[in-house]
């Protein structure tokens, strides 16, 4: 891990006051995200994911423990120079257009003049909302709102982007666009910290994953290490004749230590099927 971590959370505890006894939302969570990494924090609803993110953004104060962003205490305002944040189900200001929304957030980050105008254009292209730039957000779809939310998160070119359920309520096409955007962020060296309970998506985009349950971090590490089954091996063949399969099966049967668990055809996912059919339909309509 490089010397400077993008995110460092140490023994974070967060209690909320209730009428009876304090509710412990986060219980001793520690994690570290290296610069340029895509980290996914997964867990069921109410497990403490959002509270952890809010503590990292200074929106809630830790009861104990600490959070830092690129070495700066996250309770300090200047730590947010390097952060872009997309909350879950954001609404933004409905009276602003897409371009006005990015301009507003850009000005909050100190951008002015030509640099701001240029940045607005870049971001509208990046999130694919050039055609909707002058439309008020009141008329945006859920997916468009997520994408403009991502644009505002990126306006000051942050080194860290925090995404809370970025694809919640978004259709598969919109979800795929957001996933592609996360890939492009990683390609540009931007650190991404995302929370989701859509496990398939986390698996697709994340380098490292933490599993949080009832406020505690129960498992954490590189995705490949976490999900690989160490005593099993997968061989996928293309255009293999039945005789070859039979020979392979016989060879495996001859080896007492090995067991053939399963043979069959690999399946695509419903998402891939949907996207392929949607693309096919779009192509045939444009012809």
């Amino acid at each position: 891990m490089p010397a400077e971590s993008a995110v460092k959370i140490e023994n974070l505890v967060k209690d909320f006051k209730t009428s009876r006894e304090p509710l412990r939302a986060v219980d001793g969570v520690s994690l570290e995200i290296a610069a340029g990494e895509v980290y996914g924090l997964i867990g069921p609803n109410g497990s403490g994911k959002s509270t952890t993110m809010k503590a990292l953004l200074g929106l809630v104060a830790p009861t104990s423990g600490s959070c830092s962003i690129f070495g700066r205490d996250s309770m300090k305002v200047d730590s947010r120079n390097d952060v872009g944040f997309l909350p879950e189900n954001p609404y933004f200001y409905k009276h602003l257009t897409g371009a006005e929304t990015i301009r507003f957030y850009g000005r909050l980050c100190g951008l002015r003049g030509k640099a701001l105008v240029q940045r607005i254009e870049e971001l509208l292209v990046l999130v694919g909302l050039e055609d909707a730039r002058d439309r008020r957000l009141g008329g945006y779809s859920k997916g468009m709102l997520q994408r403009i939310g991502l644009a505002q998160a990126l306006v000051q070119e942050p080194r860290l982007v925090i995404l809370d359920e970025p694809t919640a309520g978004v259709d598969p096409l919109g979800s795929r666009q957001i996933r592609d955007l996360i890939f492009s962020l990683r390609a540009r060296g931007i650190t991404v910290f995302l929370c989701s309970h859509l496990l398939e998506q986390v698996q697709e985009v994340c380098d490292r994953v933490g599993i949080i349950f009832r406020g505690k971090m129960v498992k954490e590490g590189p995705l490949e290490e976490l999900i690989s089954i160490e005593n099993q091996t997968e061989i996928i063949l293309e255009n293999a004749p039945p005789e070859l399969i039979a020979r392979l099966s016989a060879m495996i049967a001859a080896e007492p230590a090995a067991t053939l668990v399963k043979t069959g055809r690999p399946r695509t996912t419903l998402e891939r099927l949907f996207l392929r059919e949607a693309a096919h339909q779009r192509d045939s309509e444009t012809r």
């Binding site: 104060a61 947010r80 120079n81 879950e88 954001p90 200001y93």
Partner: protein
């Protein structure tokens, strides 16, 4: 791209939030409706028919009444709307940002919470200022036209009835006194000052309130109590035992501290009566309003800076 380290308070960032708040309020149709309503109320004053009275029983009383009625209705309307603007818009903005989670995206940027609060308050005040300026422009225009009409009709009457020069001069002087004067503008400014105190008070309440309704009701109650606090305070302090016992004395002082004395801002009555509002009175009111607004804003900041979302 270089981003500067943010100071504790940034005027430019506050202006960004204030201008956005102003735009947000302007684009809310309810405010168009209120402005339209204000215009209708003020314009309806044109419908007041000229009165005539026998010269010997008071030609100046007629002119005064006509112009006083116009000023009273217009300034009453301006005051009503500026107070409603101040309470409702301030009570609405902060909880709405929390509810829509837009506040998260703002505070997740390098924006100190003081900038956010000041921006919201200044945006509301800018809207009230512009609204009052427009209403003042309309009122002053109407008053000037009305004053000329009244003067012309009275002079015509004077010609027909052969009033003396001293009566004519008295009418001219009365019309000038009840026309567009500096005191009238000072009265409008006093309305703005009062609205600023009310808005900052509503902002303070909204930092710990659980709903917009609570903020609106509480701020309205505080406003009404503030209008009568001077009388209540004086009564307690002057009563035979009230002012003497420590508890009553403390209670009266505490009330004076918690509730702003909105009665101080009722100098508009002086303007309506056509009397002169001294500059010192306006300067003193400005000082009081700035002090109250600053105190409420600091209190708001204390609460808001520790608030969790």
């Amino acid at each position: 791209m270089s981003i500067k380290r943010p100071p504790l308070f940034s005027p430019s960032r506050t202006v960004v939030i204030a201008s956005h708040t102003f735009t947000q309020l302007v684009r809310m149709k309810v405010f168009y409706f209120l402005a339209f309503f204000a215009v209708v109320i003020i314009a309806s004053n044109f419908l007041i028919l000229p009165q005539f009275a026998p010269p010997e029983t008071g030609a100046t009383a007629v002119t005064e009444n006509q112009l006083r009625m116009l000023k009273s209705a217009a300034m009453g309307t301006m005051k009503l709307f500026s107070i409603i603007f101040a309470i409702v818009s301030t009570a609405l903005l902060l909880p709405k940002d929390v509810e829509d989670r837009t506040l998260y995206t703002i505070l997740a940027k390098p924006v100190p919470r003081l900038d956010y609060l000041l921006g919201k308050l200044l945006g509301v005040l800018a809207l009230i200022f512009v609204s009052l300026a427009l209403m003042d422009l309309l009122m002053s225009g109407m008053l000037a036209v009305r004053a000329n009409m009244v003067l012309a009709s009275q002079m015509q009457l004077a010609d027909q009835l052969g009033w003396s020069d001293s009566v004519r001069e008295s009418i001219r002087s009365s019309v000038a006194m009840h026309g567009v004067t500096g005191s009238l503008q000072a009265g409008v400014f006093a309305i703005f000052l009062q609205s600023a105190v009310v808005a900052s008070m509503a902002l303070f309440i909204s930092t710990f309130a659980t709903s917009t309704l609570f903020t609106t009701i509480t701020a309205t109650l505080v406003y009404f109590i503030g209008n009568f606090q001077a009388e209540a305070r004086d009564y307690w302090l002057a009563s035979p035992d009230g002012g003497q016992t420590a508890l009553a004395h403390f209670g009266a002082l505490a009330m004076a501290l918690v509730f702003p004395d909105f009665g101080l801002f009722n100098v508009i009555d002086t303007a309506i009566e056509g009397l002169v509002i001294p500059f010192s009175a306006i300067a003193s009111l400005t000082g009081i309003a700035v002090l109250y607004t600053a105190i409420y804003t600091v209190f708001s900041w204390f609460v808001f800076s520790n608030k969790e979302f």
